[in-house]
Symmetry: C2
Subunit: 289 residues, 2 copies
Protein backbone atom coordinates (compact mmCIF):
# COMPACT_ATOMS: atom_id res chain seq x y z
CA UNK A 1 0.00 0.00 0.00
CA UNK A 2 1.43 3.30 -1.02
CA UNK A 3 0.09 6.81 -0.79
CA UNK A 4 1.33 10.01 -2.31
CA UNK A 5 0.93 13.56 -1.19
CA UNK A 6 1.81 16.09 -3.84
CA UNK A 7 2.74 19.09 -1.71
CA UNK A 8 3.54 22.30 -3.49
CA UNK A 9 6.23 24.23 -1.70
CA UNK A 10 6.67 26.83 -0.38
CA UNK A 11 2.96 27.68 -0.67
CA UNK A 12 0.48 26.14 1.69
CA UNK A 13 -1.80 23.38 0.44
CA UNK A 14 -4.68 21.42 1.88
CA UNK A 15 -2.79 18.21 2.52
CA UNK A 16 -5.82 16.15 3.36
CA UNK A 17 -7.23 16.92 -0.06
CA UNK A 18 -4.11 15.68 -1.83
CA UNK A 19 -3.79 12.17 -0.41
CA UNK A 20 -4.52 9.38 -2.79
CA UNK A 21 -3.77 5.74 -3.20
CA UNK A 22 -1.79 4.49 -6.17
CA UNK A 23 -4.02 1.50 -6.78
CA UNK A 24 -6.81 3.78 -7.90
CA UNK A 25 -4.93 6.93 -8.87
CA UNK A 26 -3.89 8.47 -12.16
CA UNK A 27 -0.27 9.58 -12.65
CA UNK A 28 0.49 12.90 -10.98
CA UNK A 29 3.81 14.08 -12.38
CA UNK A 30 4.40 16.11 -15.53
CA UNK A 31 7.18 14.58 -17.66
CA UNK A 32 8.55 18.11 -18.10
CA UNK A 33 9.28 18.29 -14.37
CA UNK A 34 13.00 18.92 -13.93
CA UNK A 35 13.04 16.23 -11.27
CA UNK A 36 12.22 13.70 -13.97
CA UNK A 37 14.16 15.21 -16.87
CA UNK A 38 17.32 16.38 -15.06
CA UNK A 39 17.37 14.64 -11.67
CA UNK A 40 17.20 18.25 -10.47
CA UNK A 41 15.80 18.04 -6.96
CA UNK A 42 16.47 16.74 -3.47
CA UNK A 43 15.00 14.05 -1.27
CA UNK A 44 14.94 12.37 2.11
CA UNK A 45 13.92 8.86 3.15
CA UNK A 46 12.53 8.46 6.68
CA UNK A 47 11.84 5.27 8.55
CA UNK A 48 8.36 4.72 9.97
CA UNK A 49 7.84 2.50 13.05
CA UNK A 50 4.36 1.94 14.46
CA UNK A 51 2.99 4.71 12.27
CA UNK A 52 5.56 7.13 13.69
CA UNK A 53 8.14 8.85 11.43
CA UNK A 54 11.68 8.76 12.84
CA UNK A 55 14.33 11.47 13.16
CA UNK A 56 12.05 14.05 11.54
CA UNK A 57 14.14 17.00 12.76
CA UNK A 58 17.36 15.64 11.27
CA UNK A 59 15.70 14.75 7.96
CA UNK A 60 13.93 18.07 7.56
CA UNK A 61 17.15 19.92 8.43
CA UNK A 62 19.05 17.96 5.80
CA UNK A 63 16.29 18.56 3.22
CA UNK A 64 16.57 22.29 3.88
CA UNK A 65 20.37 22.10 3.54
CA UNK A 66 20.19 20.10 0.30
CA UNK A 67 17.69 22.58 -1.12
CA UNK A 68 20.02 25.47 -0.26
CA UNK A 69 22.96 23.73 -1.96
CA UNK A 70 20.86 23.36 -5.11
CA UNK A 71 19.50 26.92 -4.80
CA UNK A 72 15.93 25.66 -4.63
CA UNK A 73 13.34 27.80 -2.80
CA UNK A 74 13.53 27.27 0.94
CA UNK A 75 11.19 24.42 1.91
CA UNK A 76 8.16 25.32 4.00
CA UNK A 77 9.27 23.34 7.05
CA UNK A 78 5.97 23.43 8.94
CA UNK A 79 4.13 22.16 5.89
CA UNK A 80 6.61 19.36 5.25
CA UNK A 81 6.48 18.27 8.89
CA UNK A 82 2.71 18.08 8.73
CA UNK A 83 2.85 16.20 5.41
CA UNK A 84 5.31 13.70 6.88
CA UNK A 85 2.97 13.09 9.83
CA UNK A 86 -0.02 12.58 7.54
CA UNK A 87 1.92 10.23 5.27
CA UNK A 88 3.27 8.18 8.20
CA UNK A 89 -0.19 7.91 9.75
CA UNK A 90 -1.49 6.43 6.49
CA UNK A 91 0.72 3.37 6.90
CA UNK A 92 -0.27 0.22 8.81
CA UNK A 93 1.13 0.18 12.33
CA UNK A 94 1.96 -3.54 12.42
CA UNK A 95 4.86 -3.27 9.94
CA UNK A 96 7.82 -0.97 9.50
CA UNK A 97 7.77 1.35 6.56
CA UNK A 98 9.40 4.26 4.86
CA UNK A 99 8.55 7.72 3.60
CA UNK A 100 10.26 9.32 0.65
CA UNK A 101 10.09 13.13 0.62
CA UNK A 102 10.93 14.79 -2.71
CA UNK A 103 11.35 18.44 -3.71
CA UNK A 104 12.19 19.24 -7.34
CA UNK A 105 12.83 22.42 -9.32
CA UNK A 106 9.40 21.89 -10.89
CA UNK A 107 8.19 22.00 -14.47
CA UNK A 108 10.73 23.72 -16.70
CA UNK A 109 9.94 27.38 -17.19
CA UNK A 110 7.44 27.68 -14.34
CA UNK A 111 9.85 28.57 -11.50
CA UNK A 112 7.55 26.66 -9.14
CA UNK A 113 9.01 23.70 -7.28
CA UNK A 114 7.16 20.40 -7.08
CA UNK A 115 6.94 18.39 -3.87
CA UNK A 116 5.56 14.99 -3.01
CA UNK A 117 5.78 12.20 -0.49
CA UNK A 118 5.52 8.49 -1.12
CA UNK A 119 4.80 6.30 1.90
CA UNK A 120 5.48 2.57 1.62
CA UNK A 121 4.79 -0.25 4.06
CA UNK A 122 7.76 -2.58 3.96
CA UNK A 123 7.40 -6.24 3.09
CA UNK A 124 10.90 -6.98 4.41
CA UNK A 125 11.69 -8.75 7.66
CA UNK A 126 15.03 -6.86 7.74
CA UNK A 127 16.95 -10.07 8.39
CA UNK A 128 20.17 -8.29 7.39
CA UNK A 129 20.05 -6.41 10.72
CA UNK A 130 21.32 -9.70 12.16
CA UNK A 131 22.75 -11.62 9.21
CA UNK A 132 24.60 -8.62 7.85
CA UNK A 133 25.72 -7.49 4.40
CA UNK A 134 28.76 -8.20 2.25
CA UNK A 135 30.28 -5.04 0.78
CA UNK A 136 32.83 -4.12 -1.85
CA UNK A 137 34.85 -0.91 -1.95
CA UNK A 138 34.43 1.15 -5.13
CA UNK A 139 36.30 4.28 -6.18
CA UNK A 140 33.96 7.30 -6.14
CA UNK A 141 36.32 9.15 -8.48
CA UNK A 142 36.57 12.25 -6.28
CA UNK A 143 39.49 13.23 -4.06
CA UNK A 144 38.76 13.98 -0.41
CA UNK A 145 39.12 17.75 -0.97
CA UNK A 146 36.31 17.82 -3.54
CA UNK A 147 33.85 19.66 -1.31
CA UNK A 148 36.22 22.57 -0.74
CA UNK A 149 37.48 22.63 -4.31
CA UNK A 150 34.33 22.06 -6.39
CA UNK A 151 31.06 22.87 -4.62
CA UNK A 152 29.24 22.79 -8.00
CA UNK A 153 29.61 18.99 -7.82
CA UNK A 154 27.06 19.24 -4.98
CA UNK A 155 28.92 17.20 -2.36
CA UNK A 156 26.78 16.99 0.76
CA UNK A 157 23.48 17.48 -1.09
CA UNK A 158 21.07 14.55 -1.25
CA UNK A 159 19.97 15.03 -4.86
CA UNK A 160 17.68 12.99 -7.10
CA UNK A 161 20.66 12.35 -9.40
CA UNK A 162 21.35 8.87 -8.06
CA UNK A 163 22.13 6.99 -11.29
CA UNK A 164 25.73 6.46 -10.15
CA UNK A 165 24.61 5.22 -6.72
CA UNK A 166 22.30 2.70 -8.40
CA UNK A 167 25.05 1.61 -10.85
CA UNK A 168 27.45 1.05 -7.95
CA UNK A 169 24.92 -1.26 -6.29
CA UNK A 170 24.61 -3.24 -9.54
CA UNK A 171 28.43 -3.54 -9.63
CA UNK A 172 28.37 -4.86 -6.04
CA UNK A 173 25.79 -7.49 -6.98
CA UNK A 174 27.90 -8.47 -9.98
CA UNK A 175 30.77 -9.08 -7.57
CA UNK A 176 28.62 -11.23 -5.29
CA UNK A 177 28.16 -8.54 -2.64
CA UNK A 178 25.10 -6.76 -1.26
CA UNK A 179 26.34 -3.21 -0.92
CA UNK A 180 29.14 -0.73 -1.52
CA UNK A 181 31.54 1.44 0.44
CA UNK A 182 32.66 4.33 -1.76
CA UNK A 183 36.28 5.39 -1.28
CA UNK A 184 37.89 8.62 -2.45
CA UNK A 185 40.48 8.60 -5.23
CA UNK A 186 43.12 9.45 -2.60
CA UNK A 187 42.22 6.51 -0.37
CA UNK A 188 39.71 7.59 2.27
CA UNK A 189 36.47 5.89 3.29
CA UNK A 190 33.42 7.90 2.17
CA UNK A 191 29.89 6.47 2.41
CA UNK A 192 27.61 3.82 0.94
CA UNK A 193 25.30 4.66 -1.99
CA UNK A 194 22.32 4.90 0.40
CA UNK A 195 23.87 4.56 3.89
CA UNK A 196 26.54 5.85 6.26
CA UNK A 197 29.62 3.84 7.27
CA UNK A 198 30.25 3.31 11.00
CA UNK A 199 33.29 1.49 12.42
CA UNK A 200 34.21 0.28 15.90
CA UNK A 201 37.79 0.30 17.17
CA UNK A 202 37.78 -0.96 20.76
CA UNK A 203 35.47 1.40 22.63
CA UNK A 204 35.52 4.05 19.90
CA UNK A 205 32.77 4.45 17.31
CA UNK A 206 34.01 6.26 14.20
CA UNK A 207 32.34 7.63 11.06
CA UNK A 208 33.96 9.49 8.12
CA UNK A 209 34.04 13.28 8.35
CA UNK A 210 31.44 14.92 6.11
CA UNK A 211 33.82 17.63 4.90
CA UNK A 212 35.33 15.10 2.47
CA UNK A 213 32.17 15.54 0.41
CA UNK A 214 29.68 13.06 1.85
CA UNK A 215 26.20 13.35 3.32
CA UNK A 216 25.70 13.96 7.02
CA UNK A 217 24.00 10.76 8.24
CA UNK A 218 20.67 11.09 10.04
CA UNK A 219 20.73 7.54 11.44
CA UNK A 220 24.44 7.96 12.20
CA UNK A 221 23.51 10.88 14.48
CA UNK A 222 21.17 8.58 16.39
CA UNK A 223 23.80 5.83 16.58
CA UNK A 224 26.29 8.30 18.02
CA UNK A 225 23.75 9.41 20.67
CA UNK A 226 23.13 5.75 21.54
CA UNK A 227 26.88 5.04 21.71
CA UNK A 228 27.57 8.04 23.94
CA UNK A 229 24.76 6.98 26.28
CA UNK A 230 26.35 3.53 26.43
CA UNK A 231 29.73 4.99 27.41
CA UNK A 232 31.44 4.56 24.05
CA UNK A 233 33.53 7.33 22.53
CA UNK A 234 32.41 8.74 19.19
CA UNK A 235 34.44 10.49 16.54
CA UNK A 236 34.11 11.91 13.03
CA UNK A 237 37.46 11.28 11.37
CA UNK A 238 39.41 11.05 8.15
CA UNK A 239 39.33 7.26 7.73
CA UNK A 240 42.04 5.70 5.54
CA UNK A 241 40.84 2.69 3.55
CA UNK A 242 43.22 0.46 5.55
CA UNK A 243 41.09 1.17 8.64
CA UNK A 244 38.31 -0.92 7.11
CA UNK A 245 40.56 -3.93 7.62
CA UNK A 246 41.64 -3.06 11.15
CA UNK A 247 38.19 -2.12 12.50
CA UNK A 248 36.80 -4.54 15.10
CA UNK A 249 33.32 -4.21 13.60
CA UNK A 250 31.61 -2.22 10.86
CA UNK A 251 28.05 -1.22 9.90
CA UNK A 252 26.08 0.47 7.19
CA UNK A 253 23.35 2.55 8.80
CA UNK A 254 20.34 4.02 7.00
CA UNK A 255 16.84 5.15 7.81
CA UNK A 256 14.77 2.10 6.88
CA UNK A 257 17.18 -0.84 7.02
CA UNK A 258 18.79 0.74 10.12
CA UNK A 259 22.11 -0.82 11.24
CA UNK A 260 23.30 -3.65 9.00
CA UNK A 261 26.51 -5.27 10.28
CA UNK A 262 29.16 -5.78 7.60
CA UNK A 263 30.22 -9.43 7.29
CA UNK A 264 32.85 -9.04 4.55
CA UNK A 265 34.71 -6.22 2.80
CA UNK A 266 36.11 -7.11 -0.64
CA UNK A 267 35.72 -10.79 0.29
CA UNK A 268 37.69 -10.42 3.55
CA UNK A 269 35.45 -11.61 6.42
CA UNK A 270 34.62 -9.12 9.17
CA UNK A 271 33.30 -10.42 12.51
CA UNK A 272 29.84 -9.26 13.58
CA UNK A 273 29.44 -7.62 16.98
CA UNK A 274 25.97 -9.08 17.41
CA UNK A 275 25.39 -7.78 20.94
CA UNK A 276 26.18 -4.18 20.01
CA UNK A 277 24.28 -4.50 16.73
CA UNK A 278 21.13 -5.62 18.55
CA UNK A 279 21.37 -2.79 21.07
CA UNK A 280 22.00 -0.33 18.25
CA UNK A 281 18.93 -1.42 16.28
CA UNK A 282 16.80 -1.50 19.41
CA UNK A 283 17.81 2.09 20.09
CA UNK A 284 17.09 3.10 16.48
CA UNK A 285 13.68 1.43 16.52
CA UNK A 286 12.79 3.10 19.84
CA UNK A 287 13.31 6.66 18.58
CA UNK A 288 10.32 8.84 19.37
CA UNK A 289 11.44 12.18 17.94
Amino acid sequence: MIDVLPARAPESVDLDATIHRFDSAAPTLDVRDLGASRGDGVFETLGVVGGHPQAVDAHVARLVNSAALLELPEPNVAQWRRAIEVAAASLPTDRQGGIKVVLTRGVEGTNTPTGWIVATASSSDFAERETGVRVVTLDRGYASDVAARAPWLLPGAKTLSYAVNMAALREAHRRGADDVIFVSSDGFVMEAPTATVILRFGDSIVTPRTDIGILPGTSQLSVFAFAQARGLRTQEALVPVADLGSADAAWLVSSVRLAAPITAIDDVPKPIDLQLTREMNAALLARED
Copy 2:
Protein backbone atom coordinates in the same frame (compact mmCIF):
# COMPACT_ATOMS: atom_id res chain seq x y z
CA MET B 1 3.34 24.09 -28.21
CA ILE B 2 4.59 20.87 -26.79
CA ASP B 3 3.57 17.30 -27.35
CA VAL B 4 4.46 14.15 -25.50
CA LEU B 5 4.54 10.59 -26.65
CA PRO B 6 4.70 8.10 -23.83
CA ALA B 7 6.32 5.15 -25.57
CA ARG B 8 6.72 1.96 -23.63
CA ALA B 9 9.87 0.11 -24.57
CA PRO B 10 10.73 -2.44 -25.67
CA GLU B 11 7.15 -3.45 -26.49
CA SER B 12 5.37 -1.95 -29.43
CA VAL B 13 2.71 0.68 -28.86
CA ASP B 14 0.28 2.55 -31.06
CA LEU B 15 2.15 5.84 -31.16
CA ASP B 16 -0.61 7.80 -32.82
CA ALA B 17 -2.89 6.94 -29.91
CA THR B 18 -0.42 8.29 -27.35
CA ILE B 19 0.17 11.80 -28.67
CA HIS B 20 -1.30 14.57 -26.61
CA ARG B 21 -0.82 18.24 -26.03
CA PHE B 22 0.22 19.57 -22.66
CA ASP B 23 -2.21 22.47 -22.68
CA SER B 24 -5.08 20.06 -22.34
CA ALA B 25 -3.45 17.00 -20.89
CA ALA B 26 -3.28 15.48 -17.42
CA PRO B 27 0.10 14.49 -15.96
CA THR B 28 1.42 11.20 -17.34
CA LEU B 29 4.27 10.17 -15.07
CA ASP B 30 4.04 8.14 -11.87
CA VAL B 31 6.07 9.75 -9.07
CA ARG B 32 7.39 6.30 -8.24
CA ASP B 33 9.11 6.16 -11.64
CA LEU B 34 12.84 5.66 -11.03
CA GLY B 35 13.52 8.36 -13.60
CA ALA B 36 11.89 10.85 -11.24
CA SER B 37 13.02 9.39 -7.90
CA ARG B 38 16.60 8.32 -8.77
CA GLY B 39 17.51 10.10 -12.03
CA ASP B 40 17.78 6.50 -13.23
CA GLY B 41 17.39 6.67 -16.97
CA VAL B 42 18.94 8.00 -20.16
CA PHE B 43 18.04 10.65 -22.69
CA GLU B 44 18.83 12.35 -25.97
CA THR B 45 18.02 15.82 -27.26
CA LEU B 46 17.64 16.20 -31.03
CA GLY B 47 17.37 19.36 -33.05
CA VAL B 48 14.39 19.79 -35.38
CA VAL B 49 14.66 22.00 -38.48
CA GLY B 50 11.68 22.45 -40.78
CA GLY B 51 9.87 19.61 -39.03
CA HIS B 52 12.82 17.32 -39.71
CA PRO B 53 14.73 15.67 -36.81
CA GLN B 54 18.50 15.90 -37.20
CA ALA B 55 21.24 13.29 -36.77
CA VAL B 56 18.71 10.62 -35.84
CA ASP B 57 21.14 7.74 -36.42
CA ALA B 58 23.77 9.22 -34.10
CA HIS B 59 21.26 10.02 -31.37
CA VAL B 60 19.56 6.63 -31.46
CA ALA B 61 22.96 4.91 -31.41
CA ARG B 62 24.00 6.93 -28.36
CA LEU B 63 20.67 6.22 -26.63
CA VAL B 64 21.24 2.49 -27.18
CA ASN B 65 24.80 2.82 -25.81
CA SER B 66 23.66 4.80 -22.76
CA ALA B 67 20.95 2.23 -22.05
CA ALA B 68 23.53 -0.57 -22.24
CA LEU B 69 25.85 1.25 -19.81
CA LEU B 70 22.93 1.54 -17.34
CA GLU B 71 21.85 -2.07 -18.01
CA LEU B 72 18.43 -0.94 -19.17
CA PRO B 73 16.51 -3.16 -21.61
CA GLU B 74 17.72 -2.59 -25.17
CA PRO B 75 15.62 0.17 -26.74
CA ASN B 76 13.30 -0.83 -29.58
CA VAL B 77 15.13 1.19 -32.21
CA ALA B 78 12.49 1.00 -34.93
CA GLN B 79 9.83 2.19 -32.50
CA TRP B 80 11.95 5.07 -31.23
CA ARG B 81 12.79 6.17 -34.77
CA ARG B 82 9.11 6.21 -35.65
CA ALA B 83 8.27 8.09 -32.43
CA ILE B 84 10.94 10.69 -33.19
CA GLU B 85 9.49 11.23 -36.67
CA VAL B 86 5.97 11.60 -35.28
CA ALA B 87 7.12 14.03 -32.58
CA ALA B 88 9.13 16.14 -35.04
CA ALA B 89 6.25 16.28 -37.48
CA SER B 90 4.04 17.69 -34.71
CA LEU B 91 6.17 20.84 -34.51
CA PRO B 92 5.62 23.97 -36.62
CA THR B 93 7.93 24.09 -39.64
CA ASP B 94 8.63 27.84 -39.50
CA ARG B 95 10.75 27.64 -36.33
CA GLN B 96 13.56 25.46 -35.09
CA GLY B 97 12.79 23.11 -32.26
CA GLY B 98 13.97 20.26 -30.15
CA ILE B 99 12.95 16.76 -29.18
CA LYS B 100 13.84 15.20 -25.85
CA VAL B 101 13.81 11.40 -25.85
CA VAL B 102 13.76 9.75 -22.42
CA LEU B 103 14.02 6.13 -21.32
CA THR B 104 13.86 5.33 -17.59
CA ARG B 105 14.06 2.18 -15.49
CA GLY B 106 10.31 2.58 -14.92
CA VAL B 107 8.18 2.42 -11.80
CA GLU B 108 10.08 0.77 -8.96
CA GLY B 109 9.30 -2.92 -8.69
CA THR B 110 7.69 -3.28 -12.12
CA ASN B 111 10.81 -4.08 -14.17
CA THR B 112 9.18 -2.25 -17.07
CA PRO B 113 10.99 0.77 -18.50
CA THR B 114 9.15 3.99 -19.21
CA GLY B 115 9.75 6.01 -22.35
CA TRP B 116 8.54 9.35 -23.59
CA ILE B 117 9.32 12.15 -25.99
CA VAL B 118 8.77 15.87 -25.45
CA ALA B 119 8.84 18.03 -28.56
CA THR B 120 9.26 21.79 -28.13
CA ALA B 121 9.19 24.59 -30.67
CA SER B 122 11.94 27.03 -29.80
CA SER B 123 11.20 30.67 -29.06
CA SER B 124 14.91 31.55 -29.37
CA ASP B 125 16.51 33.38 -32.29
CA PHE B 126 19.80 31.58 -31.44
CA ALA B 127 21.72 34.87 -31.56
CA GLU B 128 24.60 33.19 -29.71
CA ARG B 129 25.46 31.32 -32.93
CA GLU B 130 26.96 34.68 -34.01
CA THR B 131 27.47 36.63 -30.78
CA GLY B 132 28.99 33.67 -28.94
CA VAL B 133 29.16 32.56 -25.33
CA ARG B 134 31.47 33.38 -22.42
CA VAL B 135 32.62 30.26 -20.59
CA VAL B 136 34.40 29.42 -17.36
CA THR B 137 36.41 26.28 -16.69
CA LEU B 138 35.21 24.18 -13.75
CA ASP B 139 36.82 21.12 -12.22
CA ARG B 140 34.70 18.00 -12.89
CA GLY B 141 36.39 16.24 -9.96
CA TYR B 142 37.34 13.16 -12.01
CA ALA B 143 40.80 12.30 -13.34
CA SER B 144 41.12 11.55 -17.06
CA ASP B 145 41.45 7.79 -16.40
CA VAL B 146 38.04 7.61 -14.69
CA ALA B 147 36.35 5.69 -17.51
CA ALA B 148 38.89 2.88 -17.38
CA ARG B 149 39.12 2.85 -13.60
CA ALA B 150 35.52 3.28 -12.46
CA PRO B 151 32.86 2.38 -15.05
CA TRP B 152 30.19 2.38 -12.29
CA LEU B 153 30.46 6.19 -12.37
CA LEU B 154 28.80 5.87 -15.81
CA PRO B 155 31.24 7.98 -17.84
CA GLY B 156 30.02 8.13 -21.43
CA ALA B 157 26.36 7.52 -20.54
CA LYS B 158 23.89 10.37 -21.04
CA THR B 159 21.86 9.84 -17.88
CA LEU B 160 18.98 11.78 -16.35
CA SER B 161 21.20 12.51 -13.32
CA TYR B 162 22.11 16.02 -14.45
CA ALA B 163 21.91 17.91 -11.13
CA VAL B 164 25.67 18.57 -11.27
CA ASN B 165 25.48 19.78 -14.87
CA MET B 166 22.72 22.21 -13.89
CA ALA B 167 24.65 23.39 -10.79
CA ALA B 168 27.73 24.04 -12.93
CA LEU B 169 25.68 26.27 -15.25
CA ARG B 170 24.44 28.24 -12.21
CA GLU B 171 28.06 28.64 -11.08
CA ALA B 172 28.93 29.98 -14.55
CA HIS B 173 26.11 32.53 -14.37
CA ARG B 174 27.30 33.57 -10.92
CA ARG B 175 30.70 34.28 -12.46
CA GLY B 176 29.18 36.37 -15.24
CA ALA B 177 29.54 33.68 -17.90
CA ASP B 178 27.04 31.80 -20.04
CA ASP B 179 28.44 28.29 -20.02
CA VAL B 180 31.05 25.90 -18.67
CA ILE B 181 33.97 23.82 -19.89
CA PHE B 182 34.55 20.96 -17.46
CA VAL B 183 38.19 20.03 -16.92
CA SER B 184 39.53 16.86 -15.34
CA SER B 185 41.27 16.96 -11.97
CA ASP B 186 44.54 16.23 -13.79
CA GLY B 187 44.17 19.14 -16.18
CA PHE B 188 42.54 17.97 -19.40
CA VAL B 189 39.64 19.55 -21.27
CA MET B 190 36.47 17.44 -21.02
CA GLU B 191 33.09 18.74 -22.20
CA ALA B 192 30.40 21.32 -21.44
CA PRO B 193 27.41 20.37 -19.24
CA THR B 194 25.20 20.06 -22.35
CA ALA B 195 27.63 20.46 -25.27
CA THR B 196 30.89 19.27 -26.83
CA VAL B 197 34.06 21.39 -26.97
CA ILE B 198 35.66 21.97 -30.39
CA LEU B 199 38.91 23.89 -30.92
CA ARG B 200 40.71 25.15 -34.04
CA PHE B 201 44.50 25.26 -34.28
CA GLY B 202 45.43 26.54 -37.74
CA ASP B 203 43.81 24.10 -40.17
CA SER B 204 43.19 21.44 -37.50
CA ILE B 205 39.84 20.95 -35.75
CA VAL B 206 40.24 19.15 -32.43
CA THR B 207 37.82 17.71 -29.85
CA PRO B 208 38.65 15.89 -26.59
CA ARG B 209 38.94 12.12 -26.76
CA THR B 210 35.88 10.38 -25.32
CA ASP B 211 37.94 7.75 -23.48
CA ILE B 212 38.64 10.32 -20.76
CA GLY B 213 35.05 9.76 -19.62
CA ILE B 214 32.96 12.15 -21.69
CA LEU B 215 30.02 11.75 -24.05
CA PRO B 216 30.57 11.15 -27.74
CA GLY B 217 29.16 14.29 -29.38
CA THR B 218 26.48 13.86 -32.03
CA SER B 219 26.79 17.41 -33.38
CA GLN B 220 30.57 17.13 -33.11
CA LEU B 221 30.41 14.19 -35.53
CA SER B 222 28.57 16.41 -38.01
CA VAL B 223 31.07 19.26 -37.50
CA PHE B 224 33.95 16.88 -38.21
CA ALA B 225 32.25 15.70 -41.42
CA PHE B 226 31.79 19.33 -42.45
CA ALA B 227 35.42 20.16 -41.60
CA GLN B 228 36.77 17.21 -43.56
CA ALA B 229 34.68 18.19 -46.57
CA ARG B 230 36.13 21.69 -46.31
CA GLY B 231 39.70 20.35 -46.33
CA LEU B 232 40.43 20.82 -42.62
CA ARG B 233 42.11 18.14 -40.55
CA THR B 234 40.16 16.65 -37.65
CA GLN B 235 41.45 14.97 -34.54
CA GLU B 236 40.22 13.51 -31.24
CA ALA B 237 42.97 14.25 -28.74
CA LEU B 238 43.96 14.53 -25.12
CA VAL B 239 43.66 18.32 -24.75
CA PRO B 240 45.60 19.97 -21.91
CA VAL B 241 43.79 22.91 -20.34
CA ALA B 242 46.55 25.24 -21.62
CA ASP B 243 45.39 24.48 -25.17
CA LEU B 244 42.21 26.46 -24.47
CA GLY B 245 44.41 29.55 -24.36
CA SER B 246 46.45 28.75 -27.46
CA ALA B 247 43.52 27.68 -29.70
CA ASP B 248 42.83 30.05 -32.60
CA ALA B 249 39.07 29.60 -32.09
CA ALA B 250 36.74 27.53 -29.90
CA TRP B 251 33.11 26.43 -29.96
CA LEU B 252 30.53 24.63 -27.87
CA VAL B 253 28.40 22.47 -30.15
CA SER B 254 25.08 20.90 -29.23
CA SER B 255 21.97 19.65 -30.97
CA VAL B 256 19.62 22.62 -30.65
CA ARG B 257 21.88 25.65 -30.14
CA LEU B 258 24.34 24.14 -32.66
CA ALA B 259 27.77 25.81 -32.86
CA ALA B 260 28.22 28.67 -30.38
CA PRO B 261 31.59 30.40 -30.75
CA ILE B 262 33.39 31.00 -27.46
CA THR B 263 34.20 34.68 -26.89
CA ALA B 264 35.99 34.38 -23.54
CA ILE B 265 37.40 31.61 -21.35
CA ASP B 266 37.76 32.53 -17.67
CA ASP B 267 37.52 36.20 -18.67
CA VAL B 268 40.32 35.92 -21.25
CA PRO B 269 38.91 37.03 -24.63
CA LYS B 270 38.97 34.53 -27.49
CA PRO B 271 38.56 35.79 -31.07
CA ILE B 272 35.56 34.52 -33.03
CA ASP B 273 36.16 32.89 -36.41
CA LEU B 274 32.89 34.24 -37.78
CA GLN B 275 33.32 32.94 -41.31
CA LEU B 276 33.96 29.37 -40.19
CA THR B 277 31.22 29.58 -37.54
CA ARG B 278 28.66 30.61 -40.17
CA GLU B 279 29.69 27.82 -42.51
CA MET B 280 29.59 25.35 -39.63
CA ASN B 281 26.08 26.33 -38.57
CA ALA B 282 24.87 26.35 -42.17
CA ALA B 283 26.16 22.80 -42.52
CA LEU B 284 24.52 21.74 -39.25
CA LEU B 285 21.19 23.31 -40.23
CA ALA B 286 21.29 21.63 -43.65
CA ARG B 287 21.57 18.10 -42.29
CA GLU B 288 19.00 15.82 -43.85
CA ASP B 289 19.77 12.53 -42.14
